[in-house]
């Protein structure tokens, strides 16, 4: 029972990190109609910027807090310099251009920080385990990720549902041209949305850094999963991205934690242990295919 609870928590933590990345992606794709493959690069840049700032300030919390406006700025600059020129183009051009951005950022990081990865230590006050239930320890840092992730999700829900910016975002997701025609400053809105997406990606990157490590291309693998999540959730829907991220997080953990044992009940132990990771790898894609057959625009996507 405790084991189950811990594994569910692991899934929640993974899902929340994925949600932070997917939230920005679904906003840019849904509202700006922009395919941004370089979203993973913002995740990486968030981590590298945080690494530098943590080194300068000698404090994890301070460095991380400073890294957020820095990634926002980076997002706004990237939007103004590159992305803005892509809105009128077709998706293929956007894919090519943002793929170019991935290469650019990877090389930029190599030039600035070198090829070897960097490491961010877990902040001292979180470098221990806490008992979530009496006698059930859980790493404090991972628990902090859950708290921060949940807080950001609530904040984002409030922002989208209750504020004027959120109203514009929702309007933009359902009909982009119409809000332009109504006299809303689209340029500013897009700039803000892209910057916001960059902050969430950067936050996900810097929070995952102490668990993983800060390295070139760290956002590239995770981007594919984020794309799957927004497709499942419905492009443009924050709620969809949240639910899909939670489901994908749990599926990933189930595949790793329980699937080998389930397979062992009807196949040999060694076959089961090598089949399990392969199967759990495709489970997420199977889910995506099933969702798309059932609802072609995703769980919460706008019907067209």
């Amino acid at each position: 029972m405790e084991y189950l609870l811990l594994q569910v928590l692991n899934g929640v933590q993974l899902g929340l990190l994925m949600f932070l990345l997917a939230a920005g992606l679904t906003l840019t794709l849904g509202i700006m109609d922009l395919v941004n493959l370089a979203h993973g690069s913002l995740y990486m840049m968030g981590a590298y910027i945080a690494w530098t700032l943590i080194g300068v300030t000698d404090s994890f919390v301070l460095g991380a807090l400073l890294a957020l406006p820095a990634t926002f700025l980076l997002g706004v600059v990237v939007e103004a310099v590159v992305i803005r020129k892509l809105y009128a183009r077709d998706h293929l051009t956007q894919v090519l251009a943002t793929f170019g951005l991935i290469l650019f950022f990877n090389e930029l990081v190599r030039a600035l920080w070198g090829p070897a990865g960097k490491s961010i230590a877990v902040p001292g006050f979180l470098n221990r385990t806490i008992e979530i239930l009496p006698g059930v320890p859980y790493p404090a840092y991972r628990f902090a990720i859950i708290l921060v992730g949940a807080l950001v999700a609530i904040l984002l829900a409030w922002l989208v549902a209750r504020t004027r910016l959120g109203m514009l975002i929702r309007a933009g997701a359902s009909n982009r041209r119409m809000i332009g025609a109504l006299g809303v400053n689209i340029e500013l809105l897009f700039s803000l949305v892209f910057g916001l997406g960059a902050v969430f990606a950067g936050l996900a990157g810097l929070m995952s850094a102490p668990i993983a490590s800060v390295r070139i291309g760290m956002g590239d693998d995770i981007l594919i999963l984020a794309l799957v999540i927004i497709v499942i959730g419905g492009i443009g829907s924050i709620k969809g991205a949240f639910i899909a991220a939670m489901v994908v997080g749990q599926i990933d953990i189930v595949g790793r934690a329980f699937l080998p044992d389930i397979l062992k009940t009807f196949m040999s132990s060694s076959a089961a242990s090598s089949a399990a990771p392969a199967i759990s790898q495709v489970m997420v894609y199977v889910l995506m295919a099933v969702v798309l057959v059932w609802r072609p625009t995703g769980l919460f996507g706008q019907r067209t």
């Binding site: 084991y3 811990l6 594994q7 692991n10 933590q13 993974l14 990877n106 190599r110 090829p115 070897a116 990865g117 960097k118 490491s119 230590a121 877990v122 470098n127 221990r128 385990t129 320890p137 790493p139 840092y141 991972r142 102490p210 668990i211 993983a212 490590s213 390295r215 070139i216 291309g217 760290m218 693998d221 995770i222 990933d252 953990i253 790793r256 934690a257 080998p260 132990s269 060694s270 242990s273 090598s274 399990a276 990771p277 392969a278 759990s280 790898q281």
Partner: protein
């Protein structure tokens, strides 16, 4: 670009010293490794050691200048194969060295060894297939067969009396060889054998929770490069470092330690080469490497250094004339050079017959986290696939 510069510099230097450089075609060496992406640090360590070998050789083998053409496999088997093809067919190199990854080597292998004119020297990867059925006279290894290092670890765990072991590794060719290797020799109970997605899984929370629930006497892992950093950090953060010791192969080394730092202290691993092995060639290699780069070299580097020295030994014996491949192969088979691991012999499948040591992660007198030898695990080990190789 850089490679061309090196080549030009070598020739220019040869001319400056008054050698008939124009009349001699230089010896060409291809070197395939990972120079971009998350594992680029390993490739960089290998390149540094290759350049150091070149320096120690004075830029010449058997009186002839040599040039090295580096190619980036991008950590992808298909790219590695294409780069190897280019080296064989377009550059017409005499030797190809390198190869970190078993899956990259397996993809590139046939293209190189079947060509007949190029000799391949693996400076790291040692998949079981190549040691066994697929062995080839054009292939040499300056590393090990994948199973051997974990086998050495297994032997040591028996003597240490570790009663149960939890195995975790990545789901690809080398991961399977490594876990199979430790199972060959380890006599205690295997609690579980988990494979994780490779290379995209970097979160091990589910595995840590499983290990904590299983309460084994030890964990055995194989996670090279960036993945090793992740695993060790997450093992420490989960609090398992206080209850379950970590035994590893290829997961804690000079490349990963700057990031693992104190978290790795006290962990044990097996290796055929350690930076403190007391032979002259090794002392010189490690000291010069440290002087140049400020860090310890890794076994990836040591094996690459040896690969170049092995090529040089054949070229020396033949006075730079590499036209007769049978003679080149015969000279290489002698392993007549000062290896940084100490002397070794080649087995029938051209894999080294060598010692394996147990290393512990410690702090050196300057406070740098490194590894030191604490025991010899096995002596003159022959890999378990040698018998399957039809070569004599």
């Amino acid at each position: 670009m850089k490679n061309k510069l090196f080549g030009t510099a070598t020739i220019a230097a040869a001319m400056a010293f008054g050698l008939p450089a124009m009349a001699q075609s230089p010896i060409k060496i291809g070197f395939v490794s990972t120079f971009s992406g998350p594992q680029a640090a390993i490739g960089e360590d290998m390149r540094r050691s290759v350049e150091l070998a070149k320096e120690h050789l004075g830029g010449k083998m058997g009186g002839k200048p040599f040039e090295i053409i580096y190619e980036d496999d991008q950590f992808k088997p298909d790219v590695g194969k294409a780069r190897s093809e280019k080296l064989v067919q377009q550059d017409k190199v005499n030797f190809i060295g390198g190869y970190i990854w078993s899956n990259v080597l397996l993809a590139s292998y046939k293209t190189v060894v079947d060509e007949g004119d190029t000799i391949l020297i693996s400076a790291n990867a040692g998949p079981s297939q190549i040691a066994g059925d697929l062995c080839n006279k054009n292939f040499f290894s300056t590393s090990w067969q994948n199973d051997q290092t974990p086998m050495a670890m297994g032997e040591y765990l028996n003597t240490k009396g570790v009663k149960s072991l939890y195995l975790v590794g990545p789901n690809y060719a080398a991961g399977k060889d490594m876990l199979a290797g430790v199972k060959r020799t380890y006599k205690g109970k295997i609690v579980s054998e988990d494979y994780t997605k490779w290379p995209d899984q970097l979160d091990f929370s589910a595995e840590m929770t499983k290990i904590a629930a299983a309460k084994p006497d030890g964990i055995f892992i194989f996670y090279p490069g960036a993945h090793g950093v992740q695993f060790v950090k997450q093992w420490a953060q989960s609090g398992l470092n206080k209850t379950v010791p970590l035994y590893q192969v290829f997961s804690i080394d000079a490349i990963t330690l700057p990031q693992q730092g104190d978290l790795a202290l006290g962990t044990l691993g097996a290796q055929e080469w350690v930076n403190d092995l007391p032979n002259e060639a090794n002392k010189k290699y490690v000291a010069d490497f440290k002087k140049k780069h400020g860090t310890y070299p890794s076994y990836y580097g040591a094996q690459s250094y040896d690969a170049i020295m092995l090529m040089a030994s054949a070229a020396e014996a033949l006075k730079g004339d590499l036209s007769n491949k049978d003679k080149v192969r015969a000279e290489m088979k002698k392993a007549n050079f000062k290896s940084v691991r100490g002397d070794f012999k080649f087995g029938n499948n051209n894999f080294p017959i060598e010692n394996f040591y147990i290393q512990e992660t410690v702090k050196d007198p300057q406070g740098m986290v490194t590894v030191k030898t604490i025991a010899t695990a096995v002596k003159d080990a022959v890999d378990p696939f040698a018998a399957k190789c039809p070569m004599k």
